[in-house]
Point group: C2
Chain length 235, copies 2
Amino acid sequence: MQAFYDRVRTLVRLNQRDSAELETLPWSSKKVGKYRDFVSAGDQPDFAFVVISGWAARYSLKKDGTRRITSLMLPGDFCGIHAVCGARMDHGIMTLTPCDFGRIQRQDIQQAAKVAPGIADALWRAKLIDESILRMWLLNHDDALHALSHLLCELHARASAINIVQEGRFHAPLTQVHLGDALGLTAVHVNRQLKLLREAGLAEISSGEVSVPNISALRQSCSFDPSYLHASVSG
Amino acid sequence: MQAFYDRVRTLVRLNQRDSAELETLPWSSKKVGKYRDFVSAGDQPDFAFVVISGWAARYSLKKDGTRRITSLMLPGDFCGIHAVCGARMDHGIMTLTPCDFGRIQRQDIQQAAKVAPGIADALWRAKLIDESILRMWLLNHDDALHALSHLLCELHARASAINIVQEGRFHAPLTQVHLGDALGLTAVHVNRQLKLLREAGLAEISSGEVSVPNISALRQSCSFDPSYLHASVSG
DNA sequence: CGCCCTTTTGAAGAAAATCAAGGGCAGTGG
DNA sequence: CCACTGCCCTTGATTTTCTTCAAAAGGGCG
């Protein structure tokens, strides 16, 4: 759960009480294999989850049978905070790799949020960031190349934040089909845009490894401004 | 503020204490003219706002100068719950009509959420619904006609919920440019799709009035399922 | 080896953007 | 009262972007 504790601390500055409350939160671990439906649409989970290790994705199935990925989750990310208010899931969550989740009971997280305002704040901030990311996905869906570059920038930034980027490279278990599902494009077209990025020397994906030799250049190419990812910790 | 109180009660079942807390929340009113930037990106508001009357829209300006509307707000909707955790706004809010806003101080809403768990739940649910709507916008952006129909269904449902629909008609201050900004399409293309809907007898917009003679037919045409808009009150 | 999944590339077709022009209507000012 | 102006809606023609269909090549793994 260190990934989770670390994440919370990037979201808000915790006082001693918050901190103590956070680290004594009761939780249990749940391991899930690759490409599993971890949570299904319609569920009304009694737990909130935290990605401890692995990658997962929120997705919805459309009427025409195609899948649309609406967000990607990396270690440290929350999912199913819906549990906090007992709402029903309107989308599913699938694993992209074998995953290790931390599971926290609804009443425990509710209690913690009540006793430790810092934790409640952190949950809010996490949700606002989710929303910002979603909004960005909406914003950038006009031009395919722009959208792809922006997504790679986002993933690079989020991967950096959890220290899994080394020399501009990080492992991301995304096939071109996944990227297409996330960007609302066909895999074929994703392939062509990736080729452009590769030829421009801006980014490359090969065997599950994203390589960005010059992140500034990539960011500039799609006007990426990372500030929306954390909205500056000042609380 | 009745619109707000009503809205909260559609989100959660309040007990007496929650109810009392809600209706004694200190607030002040703020009137804003049409087409005004009510909140700007980068602001760190000390207030949460509630739309008492009028329509407003969240939007972002893209690097190429175009505007993208990322959500529409009707009477009763919250905005700037960011204030709850002191985060910075990553988007602006503009009015589409003259608007009347209710303004609640950050500490007051925080206090209310702490004392009355029902209110905290309501805020969470409101945010989850915002997120669901955003997700739907992402989901439906593939086919222009589908997207437009779905948006009209969403607005019809939300307008119904606040009792402003009469005989399939409701006032919506949206120009074709606004619709284009919301759907990520050009106004020209919106115009063509509206023509199709009109010719199919499914929907019509004229002088700011949306007319849906047969909502079931419109819903069926775009597989609209309204459940995502409230996620069933069971808390 | 052979199979499946993923990536790659080509060619044709559909969807939406762009460019361009005209019309209706309300408000403004002569 | 009427011309003028600005905004919004409408329509047509052309071009760009993305999808669809199709086929083939690479790579990991039983």
